[in-house]
Symmetry: C2
């Protein structure tokens, strides 16, 4: 220890913090003032900020700074004269004085992209455990965040029980298909999902904005031949495309695609979003891919369209590569959940004899990730006790 | 007439279509084949595409093309030998052989950005009309799409009635706040919205991903002094920022911000999305702005942070400019809806005497825009009959 310290730099425009392990980082005065943790800046009760950016003088400077015992950084801001403290570790977890990502299409640290090698370790849980045991629920949700899908067994074989699963971590997203919907072969299907045709790997409802970010598909009957479910990691597909054809990747990420669905009366869903969606910092944030609802592409210049189509074609080829696919056949009482912004799912065609009865519903990732974060916090606290 | 025609160009790689009014555009063979409307390509029942991109030979060419009476384009594709027809007007509505937008931050044609001048023409409807009359509903939803907000009067003064309004056009988005929530001053508020403090103009729940794209706020009691509602068009604010400081606009659009909310136990909501979100083609698609839940910005390089904060500060100043604001005081039985990806709403502080009881709920734009598009189609059909 003893290495820690703090220097005021840039005439008070920033400080440089040195941690005991030898690392250091700079923080601007305006950033520190805006993010102060004290009770005059943030509500002690709910953590919300009480001030606005307009309450902070634009000429804000650090007039005094010290690194105190107990890992506390003490700062005074001029001209306000406002004094505040930060835990040094809190600051270290929020360092922005570092290199930024330069390669588009990187993925967040809490996810792991995969291919067919994951077949040997399909993430699974049991409803009997996750509904009772916070640790089991945390582990199952952790798998969903990490891999973008997971199977759950021991789900009651009763109509609508999949919504109980969604409510363990979040809320059902109701749509024109209902709170949940039947996936069975029908005579006059409003959607090709309601046939016994195979369905190419796809994300659901790309014609909806916002897209449902989670989908659950549960099995009540399955005595047909065929009808296996497969999943493909769209982020891995996009990464492979980028590695072999960076320009093609840039075309799919750099232009909106269009999707539409008008299969029922009173429903005219349309969206305009790219097949590969990147954040402004190049992070991979969503995949949209669905041959059934893809609408004419009209936002690609004439001179780029041939190369755009070639990239789209190659993207589809990689999706179909068996080296990318994990498959399983759902038994009654099993469901799977997919992150519908990342993992594509497919269905193999099935025979006309026997019955296959699935139910589907949508939910959103905000609730799932919030519940997971809260469970992780609880576990950390318990581990520390 | 008589000007129309079609040429095969680029050795069959594309055609050039000439319309009777003298306009023309090129379409690639692969694009035309992929978007064919015939019953072998798309389901006649539900309009979904029956083929995948992998079913189309990559060497697809146009081997024959003609412009027939009745405004029909007839095409034959090799090597498939597939023959199909397009209405010439269908193609004209989907021309992509044109200039693309070059200035980031443009807005779609079906929206109109506004400032305080809209005060004289606040879009309004009556629940008594819109629930009964498709034309009245269409007009009210049209205003929501166009201006990003609208007021609705004659709503039953009963708890939860705002969800009936949401269900006229779509579906409630349930969250940890419930299907709907009370907005009243509370003693130990989990959210500063539940106080009598003024609230700076903001979008709701930016810490949620996907963000709720619509919010409804209905009034059941309002006898306090103050407590007026105001709305500000975030797209107009962003446009003003871009005009006076293009580099600042690019900083806010080019870096993710962070938002978080942890005001209740079991809830740890976090998001990473920019304050100004642009599509890959530069279209303005969303604004996120909320001082209460803004978390430390960690995705801006140290060297850019001062300029980023200056742009953020200026963005907030423009939001507060009275020249941007439209305001109204809700009476019991009135509600307003906002496009929460575009229009910010604010509340003036109010006195402790009297009572102010509002209820809020979230919904999504997919349902609203779908219902509006279906109503517009019906109206067009009726007008043609």
């Amino acid at each position: 220890m003893g290495m820690e310290g703090i220097d005021i730099i840039d005439e008070g425009g920033a400080v440089q913090v040195f941690w005991p392990d030898g690392s250091n980082a700079r923080f601007h005065a305006i950033w520190l003032r805006d993010n102060a943790l004290d009770a005059r800046t943030r509500s002690a009760g709910n953590g919300q900020r009480l001030i606005t950016i307009l309450d902070i003088p634009t000429e804000t400077r650090i007039s005094a700074a010290s690194y105190e015992a107990g890992d506390t950084i003490r700062l005074t801001f001029s001209p306000e004269g406002h004094e505040t403290t930060f835990p040094a570790e809190w600051l270290r977890a929020r360092v922005y004085d570092r290199g930024q990502h330069s390669m588009p299409g990187w993925t967040a640290r809490d996810i792991e992209i995969w291919d067919a090698n994951l077949q040997a370790a399909v993430p699974r849980g049991s409803y009997l455990s996750v509904k009772r045991d916070g640790t089991a629920l945390r582990d199952w949700l952790f798998a969903v965040r990490r891999y973008g899908f997971a199977v759950l067994a021991d789900v009651p074989i009763t109509s609508g029980s999949l919504t109980d699963v969604a409510e363990l971590f979040g809320y059902v997203r109701q749509t024109n298909y209902g709170r949940w919907f039947e996936v069975r072969a029908e005579v006059n299907p409003t959607n090709l999902a309601y046939t016994n045709l195979g369905l190419q790997a796809h994300t659901d409802n790309p014609y909806r904005d916002p897209v449902p970010t989670l989908q659950l598909l549960s099995c009540l009957e399955n005595t047909v031949e065929g009808g296996e479910s497969t999943v493909v990691d769209g982020f891995m597909v996009a990464k492979r495309l980028r590695e072999e054809n960076p320009a093609g990747f840039a075309l799919l990420a750099g232009h909106p695609a269009r999707f539409e669905y008008a299969g029922s009366s009173g429903v005219r869903l349309r969206s305009k979003r790219p097949i590969i969606e990147l954040g402004p910092d190049g992070e991979m944030i969503a995949i949209r891919f669905n041959n059934r609802s893809a609408a004419p592409i009209v936002d690609v210049a004439y001179d780029d369209m041939t190369a755009y189509y070639a990239a789209y074609h190659r993207f589809a080829e990689i999706i179909e590569d068996p080296a990318m696919e994990v498959s399983f056949k759902l038994a009654p009482g099993e469901l799977f959940i997919v992150d519908n912004t990342r993992v594509m799912h497919a269905r193999k065609s099935f025979s006309g004899s026997g019955s296959r009865w699935l139910q589907g519903c949508y939910a959103d990732k905000d609730g799932l990730l919030s519940t997971l974060a809260a469970l992780e916090e609880t576990t950390l606290k318990e581990a520390a006790e």
